[in-house]
Symmetry: C3
Subunit: 157 residues, 3 copies
Amino acid sequence: MAENKATIIVMSGDMDKVFGALIIATGAAAAGMDTTLFFTFWGLNAIQKGNRTGKGFMGKMLGLMNRGGIGRLNPSKFSFGGAGRWMFKKMMAAKKVPPLEDLLQTAIDLDVHLLACSMSMSVMEIDRSDLIDEVEDVVGVAKFVKEAADSSIQLFI
Amino acid sequence: MAENKATIIVMSGDMDKVFGALIIATGAAAAGMDTTLFFTFWGLNAIQKGNRTGKGFMGKMLGLMNRGGIGRLNPSKFSFGGAGRWMFKKMMAAKKVPPLEDLLQTAIDLDVHLLACSMSMSVMEIDRSDLIDEVEDVVGVAKFVKEAADSSIQLFI
Amino acid sequence: MAENKATIIVMSGDMDKVFGALIIATGAAAAGMDTTLFFTFWGLNAIQKGNRTGKGFMGKMLGLMNRGGIGRLNPSKFSFGGAGRWMFKKMMAAKKVPPLEDLLQTAIDLDVHLLACSMSMSVMEIDRSDLIDEVEDVVGVAKFVKEAADSSIQLFI
C-alpha cells in the first residue's frame, strides 16, 4: 500500500500556498521520497511560462488576469494590487529565503515530478505549450488518485 | 490500517474547490475506492436543497447569503458578484465538462457516501431537512477521524 | 509505516479553518491518536500571544495587521471588518460550541503537540517569545515531512 511517496495537489495559485507546496515537496524529495506535484486550476499558474493564454473571449480574459507565471503570484492575504507580493518578496530576500522561481528549480533538480491537470487546462484554455518544459506530463484525475493512494503523504493545497 | 478508501473533508463552499472535491471523489470511486465526502461549514452549501435556512437573526442572515445550493456557488477568484460563476459555467459547458449538479449526481450514482457535520449544521442553523435526501448521515468529528485514519487517501479541501 | 498518528499543517489563519483544525486535532487525540499541529504562516497567529511583533518596517506592518492572537482571528467569509468574527462567536456561544481559546486549551490538555515553522517565523519576524509557552518546538519542514510520512492522517488546512 503506502510507499515512500508524497503526492501534493496544488489547486491554489496564491503565492504563499505555492510557496508552502514547494517547501514541502523539496523537503520530501530531500528526505528521499518520490514526490509528485499535481497542478490544477489556479495552481497551473505556477508552472506556466507567463505568456498570455486563451483563445475565446473568456479564456483570454482569464489569461490576462493570470499572466506572468510563478514570479507574479499574489499572496492570499494583503494582496493590495501587487504590493503584498512585493512586500513578501522583500521580506523573503531579507531572510535569505529563496524566491519561488528558485524553489521551483530546486524541486526540478530534486526530480520532483510536475504534472498538470488536463481538465482544468481545457476549461481555462491553457495549452501544453503555455507550460514550462519541465512539466512531465498532462494527466487526468485517475492518475492523481492512483499516485495519492500509493503515497504515505497526500495533501491538497 | 490503510484500506482501499478515500475520505475527503469539504469545508470550502467555493465553486472551484467543490468541483475539485467532486472530481477527485468520482475519480476515486470509479477506481474502486470506497469514497466518503464529509461536508462541513461552507461546504454544506453543496449538499443543501437551496431553500432559505436559519431561525435566529444571524442564522437567517447567513442562510440568505448562502442560499441556492450547489448551482449557486461562486468561484474562489473572480467572483464579481456572480459574473465569475456565470463565466466558469460557460467555459465548462463549452469544454463539455459537466456542471456541479451533474457531478454530484455522478458521485451519488457511484455510491460516494455523503456525510454532513453535525456541529457546523448546529452553528449555522441548518437542519437535516435543508439537506438533499441523498445525504447518508449527519455525524460528528469522531466519525470523520475514524474514516480518515482507515483511508489510503485523506484530503482537506 | 503509518502509525496511529495524525499530523495537521495549519497554514490558514482564518477563524473557521483554525476551528476546523482544532476540532479535528482534539477529535483525533480523543480517539487515542498521537496528534501534531504544525503551524506555519498565517496559522502562526493561532499560537501567538497577541502582542505586536516585527522589527523592520514590513515586519511591524504585518505584526500590526495580525495582532491579537487566536481570539481575534476573522472568518474566511463574511469578515466585514470584524463583524463576521463577532457574529460567529455569538452563534457558536448560542449553540454551546467552545470558543477557539478553549478549544486550543483542550488540545493542549489532550497532549496535542504544537509545533511552529521556523522559516515562516523568520520571514514574518515572529520570535519564539511571541508564541504561547505551550508550543513544544520551533522546527523546519524536515520534521513535518517525517511526522506526516509516519501518520495515518495528514491534512493541509
